[in-house]
Amino acid sequence: MSSDNFVEISDLQFGYGRRAILKGLDLHVPRGKVVSIMGGSGCGKTTLLRLIGGALRPSSGLVRVAGESVADLDRDGLYRLRRRMGMLFQFGALFTDLSVFDNVAFPMRERTALPEPVVRDLVLMKLHAVGLRGAAKLMPGELSGGMARRVALARAVALDPELIMYDEPFTGLDPISLGVISNLIRTLNDALGATSIVVTHDVRESMKILDYCYLMAEGQVVAQGTPAEMLASQKPYARQFFHGEIDGAVPFHYPGADYGTELGLVQRGR
């Protein structure tokens, strides 16, 4: 493998039971870049993140993170690898029984033996980076959606991870929070010298911060390139996705019996 790819995925197959989700996926994420994985709902993007994080094991194919094959690691190895990752979940997934401060302190207290004063300073620095130092005493229930996402982001980068994964970071945010989050994704990535994977279906916002983009459909990569290349792409699915066309490669109608037949307008042979 080439050393400048932090995450390498080749011919990855995965399914829940008999339902295949990923069908031979190839993808690589260069070190230091912000790469986004786009695709319609239910195309397996979140599953892909869970495979990279080692929460799921692939049916076949290879997932390499930092040079290690994730599926071959034992529990300890996996946990060691996860210490180098941070993940932002769709709705933040803040611990509802802990305050904002304790949420950000959680990974430090659980995984390091740092003395409490150091933890305190580090937490305040992380919270300051996302602009929420003043909210340290609040409980997650008292935060707005955008603030919760920022706290979760501070928690995800609490231990300066090398890989940050974002699962739908833009869902359900107002335009201002949206801009704040997308800006933070870029600046944190560059400040930490990390590598970021952003799973999203928000084209407009993510295109501003991306280095490279993969478009997924039905468990495979159907298009890839820089944002500019993607917007100019003439592949039917890519065109429909990036320009929000209603009908196209993905039909508007869910497959069903013939419309006329179902309404009884066309006589069947009875």
Binding site: G53, A55, L78, Y79, R80, R82, R83, M85, G86, M87, F89, Q90, F91, A93, L94, F95, T96, D97, F106, P107, E110, R111, A152
Partner: protein
Amino acid sequence: MVDKGWLTVSGIGRRSIESLLRLGFAARFLGLTLVQSLTCLRRPRLVVREVYFSGVLSLVIILVSGLFVGMVLGLQGYQTLRTYGSESALGVLVALSLLRELGPVITALLFASRAGSAVTAEIGLMKATEQLRAMEMMAVDPIARVVAPRFWAGVISTPLLTAMFTAMGIYGGYLVGVVLLGVDEGSFWSQMQNSVDFREDVVNGLIKSLVFGVAISWIAVFEGYDAPPTAEGVSGATTRTVVTSALTILFLDYILTSLMFRGL
């Protein structure tokens, strides 16, 4: 068709297999919880916190229920014993029924509906909001960090609550029998002390409550962890915790009673 499914032979078979699988997973889950319990020893604060939420917050309902159960026992016992002219045995009746049966069983039932359901809902909600997954991604085992402390808090709280319930109940019986109905105070206590055996009655009652505590805590954390990560899933799991706990408590009570008091 799916709704009627369980009436058919194949439906019954499928359900049986599903329940068997679930039971197997539950057993494996208990094993994992026990293995991951070292964290609780290393960080007792985690357990203390959960004892607060399960035990301390159940205190009022337990004490009030204990008082009233004891008072009812005093009243009913007095009416019955008076017909035989042996009101002085009221203390024995109240103490033995509370120590052997009512204390452990009612406390366990109340604990299951007050604290067990809360634990299920909490863990289920943490699962539904991806908090457990987030923890796993931070290389922290949710079974060690979330499940085990709640399990042990339940196991610790139940016998303590049972002791308080029973003591409260005996004073409730005393209040009604001695203070209100005029049973002789001396014979109330002395007959009780002569008939109640520490090992036979007090310790066996505590063993019962400990077994109930393990059962409730196991059911509660498992239902929470196994809940479908949706609103209906969590509410269904909460209901199942209460129902399964109640049935398990009563079933285990019969088994334990037949083992413990066989010789009497």
